[in-house]
C-alpha cells in the first residue's frame, strides 16, 4: 500500500462550485431524471431522424394507404402507422421534434432575453422608464396569450421563424415580472449600497452584482418556459395558424389528420403523446431546478 488514502477521498477539500452541486442534486431526483431522459430522447430523435427511419418525411407511399385510400394502423413496416397522405407517422413525428425544439429554444430564448431586459431595466433603474415598462407588462398580461398570438400570426404570414417570434412576443411577460421583482429587491439590499458607497457605477453593479444573482431564476424560467412554448406552438399549429404543412410539426400533424381521427385515432394519439411528453419533461426538470436553485420558492407556486 503505497498510497495512504484513495484519490476519491483526497480530492474534495474545496467545496464544489455551485452549479456542479445543483447538477448532482438534480440527478438525485427521480422525476427530474425522468424529465431529462424525455428531453434527451427528443433531442436525439430530432438530431438523428434521418438515420432512425427509412422514410422521408414528405414521401407519400403507395403502400402507405389501404386500397380505399385510408391511413394504415401501426404495423411491422410503419411502426406508428401512416397518415392521410400515406406518409410514415413515426418519420413525421421524429422530424416534427425538430420543429418543436427549434421553436421551443428560439422562441423561449428570445422571450427570456426580452423579459430579462425589461425586468432588469424596470427593477434596477425604476423611475419613469421603470414604471412605463411595468405598466406595459401589466397590459400584456391582460391579453389572452393564444388570441394575441393568433392575431399576430394573422398579420405576419406564418413561417417557422415568424411563429417562433410570435410566441416570444406573447411569452416574455412572466419572465419580466419575476425578474423585476427579484431585481428590485436585490437593488435595495445593503451590499449594493456598500458597492455604491465604494464608488462603483451602475454598469458595474448591474453586471457584477445583480445579473449573477438572477442566473438561477433565468435558468428556472428558461426551462419552464420551453414547456409553455412547446404547448403554444402545438396549439397554434393545430389551429392552422402555426407551422404550415408540409413542414411537420406535432400540432399540424393532428390538424391535418383530425378528419380521420375516429377511424384512425393513432394519428392524434402518437403526436399528442409526443407533445405531452416533451412539455412534461421540461416542466419536471424546471420544477426540480426551482426547488434546488431557489429555496425561497420551495413548495410554493
Amino acid at each position: 500500500m503505497s498510497e495512504p488514502i484513495s484519490p476519491d477521498l483526497a480530492a474534495p477539500v474545496v467545496s464544489a462550485p455551485r452549479y456542479d452541486s445543483a447538477w448532482s442534486r438534480l440527478l438525485r431526483r427521480p422525476l427530474a431524471i425522468l424529465g431529462l431522459v424525455i428531453i434527451l430522447a427528443t433531442v436525439l430523435g430530432a438530431v438523428f431522424a434521418p438515420w432512425l427511419t427509412a422514410f422521408e418525411p414528405d414521401a407519400q407511399m403507395f403502400d402507405g394507404l389501404t386500397i380505399e385510400g385510408a391511413p394504415l394502423p401501426p404495423d411491422g413496416k410503419f411502426w406508428l402507422g401512416t397518415d392521410l397522405l400515406g406518409r410514415d407517422l413515426l418519420t413525421r413525428i421524429l422530424y416534427g421534434a425538430r420543429t418543436s425544439l427549434v421553436i421551443g429554444i428560439a422562441a423561449n430564448g428570445t422571450a427570456l432575453i426580452i423579459g430579462t431586459l425589461i425586468g432588469v431595466t424596470a427593477g434596477f433603474f425604476r423611475g419613469f422608464v421603470g414604471a412605463v415598462l411595468m405598466r406595459f407588462t401589466d397590459l400584456m398580461m391582460a391579453f389572452p396569450a393564444l388570441l394575441l398570438a393568433i392575431c399576430l400570426a394573422a398579420i405576419f404570414q406564418p413561417s417557422l421563424w415568424i411563429v417562433a417570434m410570435v410566441i416570444a412576443l406573447v411569452n416574455w411577460v412572466q419572465t419580466a415580472r419575476v425578474i423585476f421583482t427579484q431585481t428590485s429587491s436585490l437593488a435595495e439590499r445593503e451590499f449594493i449600497d456598500a458597492e455604491r458607497t465604494l464608488g462603483a457605477g451602475s454598469v458595474r453593479i448591474l453586471f457584477r452584482h445583480i445579473l449573477p444573482h438572477l442566473v438561477p431564476t433565468i435558468i428556472v424560467w428558461g426551462t419552464l418556459g420551453i414547456s409553455t412554448t412547446v404547448l403554444l406552438e402545438a396549439t397554434l399549429s393545430y389551429l392552422g395558424v402555426g407551422v404550415q404543412p408540409p413542414t411537420p410539426s406535432w400540432g399540424n400533424i393532428i390538424f391535418e389528420n383530425q378528419t380521420y381521427f375516429q377511424a384512425a385515432p393513432w394519428l392524434v394519439f402518437f403526436p399528442g403523446m409526443a407533445i405531452l411528453a416533451l412539455a412534461l419533461g421540461f416542466n419536471l426538470v424546471g420544477d426540480a431546478l426551482r426547488d434546488i436553485l431557489d429555496p425561497t420558492q420551495r413548495g410554493r407556486e
Binding site: F143, L146, C151, T235, F261, V268, E301
Partner: protein, 306 residues
C-alpha cells in the same frame, strides 16, 4: 380599503385603454385591406378611394383610434367583414354558451384539483402523494386539444356515454368542461397541497388534535376552510387561462361559444371578429384579476394592501 379599491379600479381602466390601443394598432397594421374586401376585385381606384373616405380610413391614426374608442365605449366593436352583422351582436349571442362552459370547467377543476391536493397533503411523502403530483404535472403539460380529442374518442366514440359534440343537454357539457378544466386542476392540486401543508403545520391544528378531536374533524372542519380560501381566490385569475382554452376546446367539441366564433373567424381571416373576441377576453381577464385582488385581502387579512 376604499383607496385600495379605487386605485385597483383605475389600474383596470388604464389597462383596458391600453388593450384597446394595441388591438387597434394591430388592426391598423394588418396587410389585408378591408376596403378592397368590401369593394370587390373589379372596383376602380376611384370607388376604392370613395369607400375609404366614407369609412374614414383615410384619416390619421389618432383620429381613427378616437372613433374606434368612442365606438367601443358605446359597445360598438365594428362590423364583421364577411358575416354582415355587428361583432358585438355576434359575441353577445354566443357569450352565454361560453360562460356555461367556463362554469362547468371551474366546477370540474375545483372538484378534481382540490380533492387531489387535499389527499396529497394528508398523505404527504407517500406513494399516493407522489402519484398525485405526477398526475398534476401531466395535467399542466397536456395540450388541451389533445385532451379534448382523446376524451371524445374514448367516452363518445368508443363508449358512447356522451354525445360527440354540440350543445344542449348536460351530457353535452361534461366532456368539454373536463377538457377545459384539467389544466386548472393540475395547478389547483399543487396550490391546494402546499396551502394545506402550511395550515397543517400551524399550532391551532395541533391544539385541536391535542384536545381530543378526531383526525377527520380537524382536517375537514379546522384545516380545510383555511387552506381552501387562498386557493379559491385564484378563480379570477383562471379566467385568463380559460380565454385561451375556449378557442381550442370549443372548436374541438363544436361548442357554439365565442371561442368557436373566434376560430371560425381565424379560418376566414375575419379580423374584426378576432379583435372583438380578443378585446372581450382582455376585459374578462382584467375583471377576473380585479376580482382576485379584491377578494384576496378579505379572505386573508394578513395580506397588506398596497
Amino acid at each position: 380599503m376604499a383607496a385600495y379599491l379605487v386605485r385597483r379600479l383605475f389600474q383596470a381602466i388604464f389597462i383596458l385603454l391600453g388593450v384597446s390601443v394595441i388591438t387597434f394598432a394591430l388592426l391598423y397594421l394588418l396587410p389585408a385591406d378591408p376596403v378592397r374586401q368590401i369593394a370587390g376585385r373589379s372596383a376602380t381606384a376611384q370607388t376604392v378611394e370613395n369607400i375609404r373616405h366614407q369609412l374614414g380610413l383615410d384619416q390619421p391614426f389618432i383620429v381613427q383610434y378616437w372613433r374606434y374608442l368612442t365606438g367601443l365605449v358605446q359597445g360598438d366593436l365594428g362590423r364583421s367583414y364577411l358575416q354582415r352583422s355587428e361583432v358585438s351582436e355576434l359575441i353577445a349571442a354566443r357569450l352565454p354558451a361560453s360562460l356555461l362552459l367556463m362554469a362547468g370547467a371551474i366546477a370540474c377543476e375545483l372538484a378534481i384539483g382540490l380533492t387531489m391536493g387535499l389527499v396529497a397533503a394528508v398523505r404527504r411523502g407517500t406513494v399516493t402523494d407522489q402519484t398525485l403530483m405526477i398526475a398534476s404535472f401531466v395535467g399542466v403539460s397536456a395540450p388541451q386539444f389533445v385532451v379534448g380529442l382523446l376524451l371524445l374518442y374514448f367516452f363518445a366514440v368508443q363508449l358512447g356515454w356522451f354525445p360527440i359534440g354540440g350543445y344542449g343537454t348536460w351530457r353535452h357539457l361534461v366532456l368539454p368542461s373536463v377538457a377545459l378544466g384539467i389544466l386548472g386542476a393540475g395547478w389547483y392540486s399543487r396550490m391546494m397541497r402546499s396551502s394545506m401543508i402550511d395550515v397543517l403545520r400551524q399550532d391551532y391544528i395541533r391544539t385541536a388534535r391535542a384536545k381530543g378531536l378526531a383526525r377527520g374533524t380537524v382536517l375537514l372542519r379546522h384545516a380545510l376552510p383555511n387552506a381552501i380560501l387562498p386557493v379559491i381566490a385564484m378563480i379570477g385569475i383562471d379566467i385568463g387561462l380559460f380565454m385561451s382554452g375556449i378557442v381550442v376546446i370549443e372548436s374541438v367539441f363544436g361548442w357554439p361559444g365565442i371561442g368557436q366564433l373566434a376560430w371560425q373567424a381565424i379560418q376566414r381571416v375575419d379580423i374584426p371578429i378576432i379583435m372583438g373576441v380578443t378585446l372581450v377576453s382582455a376585459c374578462a381577464i382584467v375583471l377576473g384579476n380585479l376580482l382576485a385582488d379584491i377578494v384576496t385581502p378579505f379572505i386573508d387579512p394578513r395580506i397588506r394592501l398596497r
